[in-house]
Amino acid sequence: MFQNTKCECGHQNPAGTVLCEACGRSLDEGGAAEELLEMRYDGAARRSQKSHPSVLDRIWNFFSSVKIAVYMIVITLIGASLGTIYPQENTFLTTQDLGDYYRDTYGLSGEIYYALGLSHTFESWWFVSLLVLIGTSLVVCSLDRVLPLYRALNKQQIRKHESFLLRQRAAYRGDIEGDPEAWTDRFEQAARKRRYKVIRKDGALLAEKHRFSRWGPYINHIGLIVFLLAVLARAVPAWQMDQYVTIPEGDTVRIEDTNYFVKNEKFTVEFYGDEELPAELKGTLRAKLYRTDAVLYECRSGCTAASGQPELVEVARHPIEVNSPLEYDGLKLYQFDFDNKAVLREVKPVVIDKATGETYGPFTLKMRDPETTFEVGPYRLELKQNFMEFAIGEDGNPITKSRDPKAPAFIFMVYGPGLDEKGEPYIYFPMQKDKAAFSQDKLNAAIADRLEIKVNGMENVSFVEYTTFLNVRKDLAMPYIWVGLGISMLGLVMGAYWHHRRIWLRVDGSRATIGAHTNKNWYGMRADLAAALKAAGNETDPKSLDNGGNRT
């Protein structure tokens, strides 16, 4: 469509201009004369508006459209809501096949949900594509508008066309009594009092304030772009780590793929006492605190699994609680969960000579990687075999059912007074329940009458009471995330809590014509204008300044 873009005042405007860049006259020939003006971007042409767009321009225009942006936002919010119908896959720590889970738990709809990939909506290609489209739109929209707007606001004409003034949403036309100069002076003073910046030229006046608030939306968009880029940067593997470590109390565990080791020195869980609980919660266990007293070590040498004892240097120490992670050099350790299944760690049994009643020992028997030779009084014990969870296999031989010390058993060869010179075998169950269940004495038969290995009292048994689960995180992109959000917030506040207000006045003889414009809060705009008019001598009801209509 051909459009004449040359204004009556002689200024040549770029294609797409709505209001003449110089005098403000409407270039839209078809628009009814009494209709309000379209003041978006001050009527300047967006960069994308061109008379002969190329393919590139067409794509550009697509992303530059606010309408398209709104569509993308709406599609994204509908898509996101789909993702909340059933729990997402990432809420399960398990790696097993989840298809069955969705079918079994939610029936047919769950099966469809899984099949459509909605069970990982937020990682799906289409959802990420939507975010990419929104990101693109943010860049293009902002760039397309901010530069023309900047130019338009930077080279404003003071004297505007009358039609421009009267077609503003707040407008006034009235006669001046007395000297127009003095009237304008009073008007200017009142405007300055309300912190307007005032420029006067050839019997015309422009009062303007809070122009910076126009940049708010763009600053907000820049912040969002920074945020989205930072989110994208989190995908860089070297910037990101997310894993879980399981540490029984007292143990030191390596953090996979790093040179760090963590020790769980002590795990504490506290519950609220009855006196702290309201009546209906009395007697229930309500957790007050979980804490892992953790020590972080850096490994200096011998760090791989192959090389035996690592050399560790303490680098950080922190009581990790739910809202208080351990932080060291970009690495963060969070309290994730705990387990209070007691696991046997070591026992200190004694050897009893049944003939004399004499007791020897105690000696320390670790459940994992025990020593193999013990000298206890006159006896020598050689550990021949150990079982973590003792059981009798199908072929009648002893086996272990797992690798955790749930029902440990030890077979010693015992040498000493009153025993065969070649040694005699002795099977020992540290836990009383196993001793009875597998009838230790019967298995030991002959030797059981002469010798006994047993633990005297619970103080000689040591358990791992708690196992803590820590979440180990590294996220080097986080500072950029916060910076992006901060910028975005700054833009929002600028744009929402300050409003760009302008009042144009032109005096022709004894007639004043005034137009005023703001992007938000017309109520305040009219109040400002009415106050200035009142000071100048033309008292008006603010409401009467309203040109009516539901426009910008």
């Binding site: 399960f92 009546a279 739910v322």
Partner: protein, 419 residues
């Protein structure tokens, strides 16, 4: 008298002051007719009284809030009761701010019932102060929840003004199809508000009657280790069971109108905490709301919108549109800060990730996206006035779903126990 007792008394005082404030606002607006020829003076006088009473209500509720804070040692925003009362207080605060800018008493006629409903809704939940679990024990709890609620409160005031704008502008004389459709949807909105009242009425009536029914429910669950386990638990109803929990059997039920058996079973996909009981509550609320609505219709013999519409004619619709837009423009940054940014900061500290696509988080994002779409649409021609008021209504529905619905139908980190 200790702090917590003082706090409860202040709460009751606040509730009644709000109710009186509302009545005075109705008097100010609806009473102009019988004002002996000086409607403006009448509105000014009663509007001032109404505002003072409401402001006293706010003061009483602030007393409630701070004495409870002192009494229990942590900020009272950690369970549904405390959060909803806080939200009510925030809406009140937002209303006062907007009122001080625009000075339109009619806004009070809409904001106060909203506050009253929210606070009454809060009272449905267990009111005992509870000690904090470790995950909530952070000063970010205060910052995140209060800011988010304040943002939502402004958005709610935007809704109140938007609804008022609709009641003002919808044509109650026209027989045209579009006008009929608009009247219908305004009526639906009014009906939903009455259902909220119905909910409160049904809960309190059955609570006073001491009604009780019990079910044994078997639920399947998957542990974090990936094992499937089934739990058997007893579900207690405080309202006659129209809907029983999924996969459950009746243990006992008091008879209500001679019926002592449930009529229906909840579908399996409702998997929040106590979904069956909550669905039952929803059914009861709808029933009570429908009866209440029916009674009102019988009393007035016209649509409720048509009852209110004449009271609104004195106000300029453009002003209402602007108030609504302004409230949302004020609320949006606060909401962004509280419900998204502070939430992310806290999540980063407590759960080691700033964003986890938890249903509550997603719905906060949906709310944010919706209102950002609203703000962009305000830039376009043709999206002011009625259309934008409809958007504020939809926005309010989304907010309420985020605050309450998510906990009702979807399980997640933010689930509170509830009726």
């Amino acid at each position: 008298m200790n702090w917590l007792d003082l706090s409860s008394s202040a709460f009751i005082a606040a509730f009644f002051l709000y109710c009186f404030g509302f009545l005075f606002y109705v008097m100010a607006i609806a009473g102009r007719k019988w004002s002996h020829g000086d409607p403006a003076g009448h509105e000014r006088k009663w509007g001032r009284i109404a505002f003072i009473v409401s402001a006293l209500g706010l003061a009483a509720q602030l007393t409630f809030f701070f004495t409870r804070w002192i009494g229990q040692g942590h900020i009272p925003v950690s369970n549904m009761y405390e959060f909803m009362t806080f939200l009510g207080m925030a809406v009140m605060l937002a209303f006062v701010i907007i009122f001080l800018i625009y000075r339109k008493p009619i806004l009070g006629m809409f904001a106060l019932p909203l506050v009253i409903i929210i606070i009454a809704y809060a009272s449905v939940f267990p009111q005992e102060s509870q000690p904090l679990i470790p995950a909530l024990n952070s000063y970010w709890l205060k910052i995140h929840v209060t800011t988010a609620a304040l943002g939502e409160a402004f958005l709610a005031v935007g809704f109140a003004a938007g609804l008022l704008h609709l009641l003002r502008t919808v044509d109650y004389a026209s027989k045209e199809k579009s006008a009929r459709r608009e009247r219908f949807w305004v009526e639906v909105t009014m009906f939903m508000l009455i259902v909220a009242v119905g909910f409160i009425i049904s809960v309190f009536s059955f609570r006073m009657a001491g009604y009780e029914a019990e079910f044994r429910q078997e639920t399947a669950d998957v542990t974090q280790a990936g094992e499937a386990v089934s739990n058997v638990e007893t579900v207690r109803y405080t309202m006659p069971p129209i809907v029983q929990p999924f996969n459950s059997e009746l243990l006992h039920a008091d008879a209500f109108l001679g019926v002592d058996e449930p009529l229906l079973e909840a579908p399996s996909w409702m998997n929040g905490i106590n979904a069956g009981r909550k669905l039952n509550t929803v059914v009861w609320s709808l029933l009570t709301g429908a009866i209440l609505y029916g009674l009102l219709r019988l009393a007035f013999r016209k649509q409720l919108g048509a009852v209110i519409h004449p009271m609104t004619t004195d106000i300029d619709p453009d002003d209402l549109d602007e108030i609504s837009y302004r409230a949302i423009a004020i609320g949006f940054p606060i909401f962004t800060l509280g419900a998204l940014i502070f939430a992310m900061i806290w999540a980063q500290i407590a759960w080691s990730r700033f964003w986890g696509w938890d249903p509550k988080e997603v719905w906060a994002l949906i709310t944010w996206l919706f209102y950002s779409a609203y703000l962009h649409l305000r830039l376009s021609r043709g999206w002011h006035g009625k259309r934008s008021s409809w958007l504020t209504v939809i926005g309010f529905v989304i907010i309420m779903f985020t605050l309450i619905g998510v906990n009702l139908v979807i399980a997640g980190l933010h689930s509170y126990a509830g009726v």
